[in-house]
Assembly symmetry: C2
Homo-oligomer: 187 residues x 2
DNA sequence: AATATCTTAGGACAACTGTCCTAGAGGGTT
DNA sequence: AACCCTCTAGGACAGTTGTCCTAAGATATT
């Protein structure tokens, strides 16, 4: 196992734990146990807990950018692409039901902690926002493309929050239908 | 200062701190400092941190029930009452911009912590949900009153989440307008 | 085979966590 | 005056936190 692989393992484990338990609750000991290394060994890869968080956010930024690029290639029309976004609520329903949206819950927590990495975490939101805005622009909504993008982003956040609070997947399906109908009026 | 008053002070301070910093981040030391008592003195009023949380949630339940009752009395029509709900986004915009929605952020955090008080915290959501459902029923939407109530609840959650992430009050006003228009179609 | 670099385990460190105990101050009732 | 009960301050307790050091092991290069 090379150094890079161990470092990546740490980031992956931290990514999951931050999502499932929250950043504040997750300790070095938790991550170390998940990876299978000792706590002391940590310092060689990351100086501080904030360093790990920064790496986790960078990983999420990369993964999100890749996913959006994939959607861009795979779909023929802007409305199809927007539907891809809506459907991640279904794709990730099991985890959303348990932990909410990884983007929204992290930014919310970092906001309360007044954490310096909050702006970086918000970049993930901005990736989605800008990409959605592009799609609405392509649909011809030049006046309010950003407004529509943020609106859709907020709707998906709300759905994730309630689905998680009530552990209710049925609500998730229902709201995805409502969102698809909403989208139809902007074709 | 009587005992009851000190206990209430603790609950009030914890209420604010749990909202502003989160439950996990807030320590006994934080609360003690906010109230102006020593940490050791705590045990006389609350046995555990969970006890404080339970009291905070009960306080929020009472306050929410009172507020809903007030709206019920003060407004003449169901749609006016629903507008009261929508407008709390404006009323509390300063705090929402900083800390998000107190109900949504707490249930999200407790969900990740798998905290036994999660169900109690969800009761606050249920108060709103049931009350909104009543209003939609009164408007004649017998088939989908609950669906509409949950939908509106989710929308307001999403607005709060994004307004907090982007520290954007303008978005909040804009989405309140959108929600008011949405409501108009159900009069 | 010898050397240099990278990676690891183990533990030390002070600070903080939630919890709990004890001694005494304060006020009211007999 | 003597008593009781409520409340408080101060500190003890074991455990955990993030951080950091050191010594040894592993790996690669010469």
């Amino acid at each position: 196992m090379s150094s890079k692989s161990t470092k990546e393992s740490i980031i992956d484990a931290a990514d999951q734990l931050f999502y499932q338990q929250g950043y504040e609750k997750t300790s070095f000991a938790d991550i170390a146990q998940a990876v299978g290394i000792t706590r002391g060994n940590f310092y060689h890869h990351f100086k501080t807990k904030d360093d790990i968080l920064a790496s986790v956010i960078n990983l999420r930024l990369e993964n999100t950018a890749d996913m959006l690029e994939q959607w861009q290639e795979d779909s023929q029309s802007p409305s199809e692409r927007i539907e891809c976004f809506i459907k991640i609520l279904i794709m990730n329903r099991a985890k959303i039901r348990l932990y909410g949206c990884p983007v929204g819950t992290l930014t919310t927590e970092l906001g309360k902690l007044e954490h310096p990495q909050l702006n970086n975490a918000n970049q993930v939101f901005l990736l989605f926002s800008d990409w959605l805005e592009q799609q609405f622009l392509a649909l011809g909504h030049t006046q309010n493309a950003r407004e529509l993008a943020r609106h859709l982003l907020a709707r998906s956040q709300g759905v994730a929050t309630l689905a998680s609070a009530f552990h209710d997947e049925a609500f998730l399906y229902q709201e995805v239908d409502t969102l698809t109908e909403w989208l139809a009026q902007y074709h």
